[in-house]
Symmetry: C2
Subunit: 322 residues, 2 copies
Amino acid sequence: MAILPMNTPNQPSNNQYQLPERVKIVEVGPRDGLQSEVAISLNDKISLVNMLSHTGLSMIESGSFVSPKWIPQMANSGELFRRIKRTKGVTYSALTPNLIGLNAAIAANVDEIAIFGSASESFSRKNINCSITDSLRQFSPVVKQALAAGLPVRGYISCTLGCPYEGYISINKVAKVAQQLQQMGCYQISLGDTVGVGTPEATKAMINAVSQYVSVDKLAVHFHDTYGQALANIYAALQLGVSVIDSAVAGLGGCPYAQGASGNVASEDVVYMLNGLGIESGVDLSELIAVGNFISERLKRSNGSKVAQAYPAAQALFQSLI
Amino acid sequence: MAILPMNTPNQPSNNQYQLPERVKIVEVGPRDGLQSEVAISLNDKISLVNMLSHTGLSMIESGSFVSPKWIPQMANSGELFRRIKRTKGVTYSALTPNLIGLNAAIAANVDEIAIFGSASESFSRKNINCSITDSLRQFSPVVKQALAAGLPVRGYISCTLGCPYEGYISINKVAKVAQQLQQMGCYQISLGDTVGVGTPEATKAMINAVSQYVSVDKLAVHFHDTYGQALANIYAALQLGVSVIDSAVAGLGGCPYAQGASGNVASEDVVYMLNGLGIESGVDLSELIAVGNFISERLKRSNGSKVAQAYPAAQALFQSLI
């Protein structure tokens, strides 16, 4: 049964923008999501990645090779990568902040890596204990060795629309960090609204500033839904031609700066919007909802996707019509 | 303390659209919200309306003069209107489906009334037990007498982006009903996505169709957040120049067609977005959050506004910076 029987078919529009025809979703639930949740068993994590692999997603950020002192939830990423059942066409990526992490990732046969820079000095110092400039200097050999080993590298930038310590972040600062990550060798820059404070026009202004240095087809957006703005911001980004969206199944994760608040934007809600916009993502929404329900149950938390919450009742209603 | 210290200031943009400078929020929590919640005491309802009156809102839909057999939660609207403390500059409106309701509303000194049409035949028949044509015929004398009594009349249209019984709804049908309501004497048409299934481009297509008959400055949008799409849809509507938004404090209400799903879009989340977009609403966000917390507590439900959920932690963090 289609989940979207009620949506108005696409109409000819007089828009001045062109939405992308296809969007790639980078599923970050197993990494960015789970690192802010209570720890669950390795078997459950493996099940999560394996289940996600069958939803039509083409990229799953599955773990993080960081010191377990920092993020104990990610301690067993090596074992996870060795035990997941890889599906053809799916890229399994991991965060590797340094050479030790990179080597562990290579040993675990990771397909792609990511490094994590910041547009905020204070956030950089508090999060990775060094200035932005120093962090980029430290990433440089990581990127070099990863590329030499044949691994594509994705660059994250945190705090692109605000910082929990500094507040306002200059969009020119974001643009400069993006430029440096690209020059270093990152094939794609994911612009993160780490604290979820951004709104649509601020999002557009930031992306426009970044695109002075890095072309839009090399940009991704990464929104947290802390203030409920994520989908509106994604729609704004789509209007500028951004075609890669990070999201987490069931809206996994939280906000360390706002206890009890929402985490990553839910993949289900993103896919629902893309379906409604007539944008192809390749993801099966029903399958994705099932995975979100599985992991929410294991985490003993409510499902953070509104689509997932509405789905059973909507399905029952429409089945009665068929 | 400002709630939005982190937002990027407005930047010059190359947009092809012009967002409105000012938006009027029609707070529908006490009516559309509470009619789908458990019943609370009249005193609590009065407190809710009185508290909302001090947030800067200029219009509060406070009750409904319908048969208590239909909606028992609204049974004491007359007494509510008699006992609320009216604030200068605030319009207190009510739903009146028929002449009996209108006369009760006039007796209770209501400032403005609203009638409730539908773009879906099935929804009209199930909800008010008659066809769209018959419902409009029945509304006609209500509007006439209301106008004669000096009361402005607002027209709602339900199911503008989908119907729980029919699925797809023709946007031309929506446009025609809007035209008829305007011709009847409604000064404003509120386009409701009753089941929350709409997405941004469908929203734009529907508004564009309606604006062939009713100019955009006479339109309002009314979104439910069942599928999490409300703010993205509102942003789409703003791009077309719509400048009146219905919303409910704390996201009051639910969806009778999806048990446990979200209700009206939360006024707090709308105001947060408007603030970020540099659009004036006149509403004090901190005050609004306090009201939302009050009513959520009385209803023993969690606050449906993400902004309200994130606010205490964000406030604590930023106070430590000041």
